[in-house]
């Protein structure tokens, strides 16, 4: 029979009595061991792992499973600490319930683990820096950067690049585009002439020379530059100008970046200083010089209520949009859907360097430790690869009505249509699926199922007993 482990770490208090109770109840032996121990000698193929904490500990356990190619579905958690605190009375009952449930139903998870390790080779586009090459060689990763023209195609977790002379299979692609900075909106000649519109960098120098008392300053942040630095600076400038010099501040952007924790605070402070934030389509902002050429008329439509704004600004400061200089591979497609790969954002939502396309990394800076970091990321990706559990998402062929909704709604472009004529069906690509389950929610025929990496009987667990406020 399978082995059942309860892994604890540090000073987790392991709920021994409950476990024993359950052991007697259904006659399963649960080994309680520390995560620190050395499991290398044992065969953990068929093991069921239980953990006691739900927060950071969970990641550790998943990592643990990942490295030993254990089906993540075999790793289950019970937030013992939290549940104890929240439902002190019913906690142990809940736990027992959880144990019984999981131990009883563990057979129902066929542990088909496919380990897809990418080729240990990297393609660098458009051209290869000497420094980078030697950094990669330090990690023992061969690097390619052949002369165009050639074709890059995805094949499983790998990329096949084929030119007329060569045919290579690489595990990962590193994009090193040269970024060009340009204003996010069209600036007419006459507006340019006023000299009242300038990029953030130039404005920085201006701060010391000019006075902004009672002046109106407009910051225009282009959607392509969600770079945290820029945002931080914009927030700071906006706050200080309006605080110290009573300047009237507008910040116009398509999305206002508050994801990073400290930004929440910055944003609120800046608001409280009286700076105005407006979401609007940057490309639709219209600029006109005032008659005295001492300012600009700014015209735009707020996204909230489609309200047409028009006011006079003394200074318009734009955070330039950074777009890659076009080169051979500047657009990526899956089927006929373009994939957003080129955004140089340190978006806290995405891991560093990574793009929405698994195995494709993007870099922008040219210095030693930056390279090192990059190389490390790529290395870890190549060594750990990706565990694909074949029954995590499923498309019920006979239910699918080919409405293409999933294809359109999937944020990761992970879905494509496979098969011929009437047999066509939606198919979810593992390399890209992030298990968000959005397709499942949208599918009108409820043909898509996502058994996520988390116990789906969680609801039952926390609901028992504790109802009333």
């Amino acid at each position: 029979m399978k082995k059942v482990l309860w892994l604890y770490e540090g000073e987790d208090n392991v709920p021994l009595p409950q476990i024993q109770a359950v052991e007697e109840k259904i006659g399963v032996h649960v080994e309680v061991r520390s995560l620190g121990e050395d499991f290398s000698s044992e065969n953990l193929e068929q093991v069921l792992i239980l953990g006691s904490s739900f927060s950071w500990h969970r990641e550790r356990l998943l990592e643990f499973a990942l490295q030993r190619s254990i089906n993540p579905l075999q790793v289950r958690f019970f937030p013992w600490q939290e549940v104890q605190r929240i439902f002190p009375t019913t906690a142990s009952k809940l736990l027992e319930h959880f144990l019984v449930e999981t131990l009883k139903r563990r057979e129902s998870y066929p542990a088909q683990v496919v380990k897809l390790l990418p080729e240990r080779k990297v393609l660098v586009l458009p051209r290869l820096e000497k420094a980078l090459q030697e950094v990669f060689s330090r990690f023992g990763i061969p690097v390619y950067s052949p002369q165009p023209p050639f074709l890059v195609e995805r094949d499983g977790v790998n990329f096949v690049l084929s030119g007329e002379s060569f045919h290579e299979k690489v595990g990962s692609v590193v994009l090193f585009p040269e970024w060009q900075e340009e204003p996010p909106l069209r600036i007419p000649m006459e507006v340019e002439e006023t000299g009242r519109i300038l990029p953030l960098a130039r404005f920085r120098n201006l701060l010391s020379q000019k006075k902004f008392r009672e002046k109106t300053v407009v910051f225009v942040v282009s959607p392509q530059s969600h770079s945290l630095k820029d945002w931080e600076e914009v927030f700071a400038l906006a706050r200080d100008l309006s605080r110290s010099q009573k300047a009237k501040i507008w910040v116009l952007a398509e999305e206002i970046m508050v994801a990073a924790p400290q930004f929440e605070r910055l944003y609120r402070e800046t608001r409280s200083e009286g700076a105005l934030f407006e979401k609007t389509k940057i490309s639709t902002i219209v600029l006109q010089p005032t008659l005295d050429m001492q300012g600009l008329w700014v015209e735009f439509e707020t996204e909230r209520d489609r309200y047409h704004q028009r006011f006079r600004a003394d200074w318009v400061v734009y955070v330039p949009k950074r777009s890659p200089l076009p080169f051979g591979a500047s657009s990526w497609w899956r089927g006929d859907a373009p994939i957003e790969v080129f955004f140089d954002l340190e978006n806290p939502n995405l891991p560093r360097f990574s793009t929405s396309l698994q195995g494709v990394f993007i870099a922008s800076q040219f210095d030693e430790e930056y390279f090192l970091e990059l190389a490390q990321t790529v290395d870890t990706y190549l060594t750990q690869g990706k565990i694909a559990v074949s029954d995590c998402t499923s498309v019920e062929e006979e239910k699918c009505v080919l409405c293409l909704t999933c294809l359109r709604t999937c944020p990761w472009k992970a879905i494509e249509i496979e098969g011929k004529s009437k047999r066509k069906r939606a198919h979810i690509n593992w390399e890209q699926c992030h298990l968000c389950g959005i397709c499942m929610a949208f599918c009108p025929a409820s043909a898509i199922g996502v058994n996520s990496l988390y116990p789906e009987d969680f609801f039952m667990i926390t609901t028992t007993g504790s109802g009333e406020k």
């Binding site: 009505v401 080919l402 409405c403 909704t405 359109r408 709604t409 009108p444 025929a445 409820s446």
Partner: protein
């Protein structure tokens, strides 16, 4: 495909006054694709009805416009007091033909034959006039997409490529003009279109197609 909109819940509930056991019947074809009468919506409506104190069940038929598929539900349908069909008008009628004794209520307003222009937006494209002329108009059907069904448009109300009747709607004739221009076939728009023969359309009364060779 056929596009429908769910009727107001209140209306459905009013129709169901006096019935307790209700079957909500989804249709697995067009209305599923246009997200108004598929399994999801059926489930939704069913639970709403349950919350209103009905004994509601939800089921799905592949195509309600096929007798055979409906008849497979014999037992289920005869067990309940009333059926709310989320199929298009066609489905509702066929279903009612199959079970003449069971009261069947439409849960949908069948709106038009159309296509999804983008996720969540459907637009009418054809009004089944029975004599297709789109090739004359750069494959934009003026009968459907022009508010006045002009064959020799555009009318005086086209402004900024939008229709005077509904400013958010594109002027069909603007589209036609642009398309033909891009195809370099503008001169073909110069010839006067004769009055259309509507006898193939609904105006000739209910229509019927018979293929002798495939009949039994």
């Amino acid at each position: 495909m056929i596009v429908g909109e769910r009727k107001p819940v209140t209306e459905i509930i009013d129709n169901l006054k006096g019935y307790r056991k209700v079957l909500v019947l989804a249709c697995g074809t067009c209305v599923t694709v246009c997200m108004s009468g598929g399994e999801k919506e059926a489930q939704e409506l069913a639970s709403l009805l349950r919350l209103k104190g009905f004994q509601a069940q939800a089921q799905t038929v592949e195509r309600q416009c096929e007798k055979e598929f409906n008849l497979q539900l014999q037992t289920g349908i005869c067990a309940c007091e009333a059926v709310v069909s989320l199929a298009c008008g066609i489905g509702v009628q066929v279903l009612a033909d199959c079970f003449p004794r069971v009261p069947v209520f439409p849960g949908l307003n069948t709106t038009f034959m159309g296509a999804p222009v983008e996720q969540g937006i459907w637009e009418e494209r054809c009004s089944g006039c029975g004599e297709c002329l789109v090739h004359l108009f750069g494959n934009v059907c003026p009968i459907t997409r022009c508010a006045k069904s002009l064959l020799n448009g555009p009318c005086g109300g086209s402004r900024g490529g939008k229709c005077e009747v509904k400013p958010e709607r594109d002027c069909a004739w603007q589209l036609i003009y642009d398309r033909m221009k891009s195809q370099g076939k503008l001169e073909s728009l110069l010839e006067v279109q004769p009055p259309k023969n509507w006898s193939f359309s609904r105006y000739g009364g209910q229509r019927k197609m018979i293929r002798e060779d495939v009949k039994l």
